[in-house]
Amino acid sequence: MEKVLEILKGIRPDIDFEKETKLIDDKILDSFDIISIVSEFNDQFNIAIDVEDLEPDNFNTVSAMWKLITDKQSNG
């Protein structure tokens, strides 16, 4: 989880990721951010997030992103 926050702050240092709960619904993150985040997650956690995973629910909060990562890791 700490690593996720570190990655997110590296991409968008202006956002308080711990407080925000609607990162996608409130359009705080844009499509460039999403691609950068997914690319970093795929590299850092050795997973493969694909287009089907790009649902707002998976990226609205840090904990949702962490859940997506752990699901991907456990599903191999």
Partner: protein, 312 residues
């Protein structure tokens, strides 16, 4: 009714001088061509958004709520922001079916890894996104038609988006060095004006009869825009509109600006009118209908002028 106002009072009226300036560009100086380009920007916005709003209005009468397609695009502070506000349904389609799938493809991910090794993390991670953005905007260009001028339109937009992504660190340093507060009204006004100019100049490509004519116009605009006397030597009155018509057009554009400004700041004119008493409300409705009927432009033989985007 707002759709009819925009279409009949602004779009179809402004189309008359725009057509003259674009069809006979060699006869006019750079300033008038610049004015024509800016007017075309207003024409295409009022025409296209009017069509969408009329369709939304009729749909709402049938209890069908269509998605918003325009969100005050001329309040955009960057080209990227503009394309989030302009033709939103096309943008969403491109994002879901082109941008995301291409960005997350294995080929693009591997390219990203190679770029990061070659150019470092900061620039390396941006290159795959820039390539995909170029493809997206080329497709947006092709969506308008299979001609070189549309390819140029795609390249124009793609280049500005790419330069914004690549030069972002430089811009941030420049803002810091010049102590620019990017939340200040002055700076936001500058950003909006800059975006409007870039978008308007880019529109030369799809609107000009050919790529060569678009380049000719751009050359003349960038080298001869100071011929401001075009405003005062009565050339404007030879473009198809008389003084009264120009006045109606200018007032219409001012109303458009005020309405867009209010919408941008979260105020709905529709709700404001709906909250009035029945007498005031219907007085406003009738006043708007009369204004549209009296000041609307109806085209030759009272046949309505076609919507620019009806063929797409």
């Amino acid at each position: 009714m707002w759709g009819f106002f925009k279409k009949l009072i602004i779009a179809d009226r402004i189309a008359i001088p725009v057509n003259e300036l674009f069809e006979n560009a060699p006869n006019y100086n750079g300033f008038l061509l610049l004015l024509g380009t800016i007017m075309y920007g207003i024409q295409v916005y009022t025409d296209f958004s009017a069509g969408m709003e009329i369709a939304r209005g009729f749909s709402q009468m049938l209890s069908i709520d269509l998605d918003l397609n325009f969100n005050q695009p001329y309040h955009a502070i960057s080209i990227e922001d503009f394309w989030r506000r302009w033709h939103i349904t096309l943008g969403s389609f491109m994002k879901d079916y082109v941008f995301y799938p291409l960005s997350l493809s294995k080929l693009n991910m591997n390219l990203g890894k190679k770029c990061r090794k070659l150019f470092g993390v900061t620039i390396g991670k941006k290159i795959p996104i820039i390539i995909v953005m170029f493809i997206v905007y080329l497709l947006v260009g092709f969506w308008h038609g299979a001609e070189w001028k549309y390819v140029a339109y795609g390249i124009w937009n793609g280049t500005f988006i790419a330069s914004t992504i690549l030069l972002e660190p430089f811009y941030n340093k420049l803002k810091k060095a010049l102590s620019i507060n990017d939340k200040s009204h002055d700076y936001i006004f500058f950003q909006r004006f800059r975006t409007f100019v870039i978008v308007s100049l880019g529109r030369l490509f799809p609107r000009a009869p050919s790529l060569m004519k678009a380049l000719f116009m751009m050359g003349r605009i960038t080298t001869g825009w100071w011929y401001i006397q075009g405003l005062f030597d009565k050339t404007l009155l030879k473009l198809g509109l008389n003084t009264a018509e120009w006045l109606v057009l200018v007032v219409g554009i001012i109303i458009l600006f005020i309405v867009d400004y209010l919408h941008e700041h979260g105020k709905s004119i529709r709700n404001i009118i709906a909250n009035q008493s029945i007498i005031v409300r219907w007085a406003i409705y009738y006043a708007i209908i009369i204004i549209i009927v009296v000041f609307g432009v109806y085209g030759p033989m009272y046949g309505a002028t076609s919507f620019i985007y009806q063929q797409f």
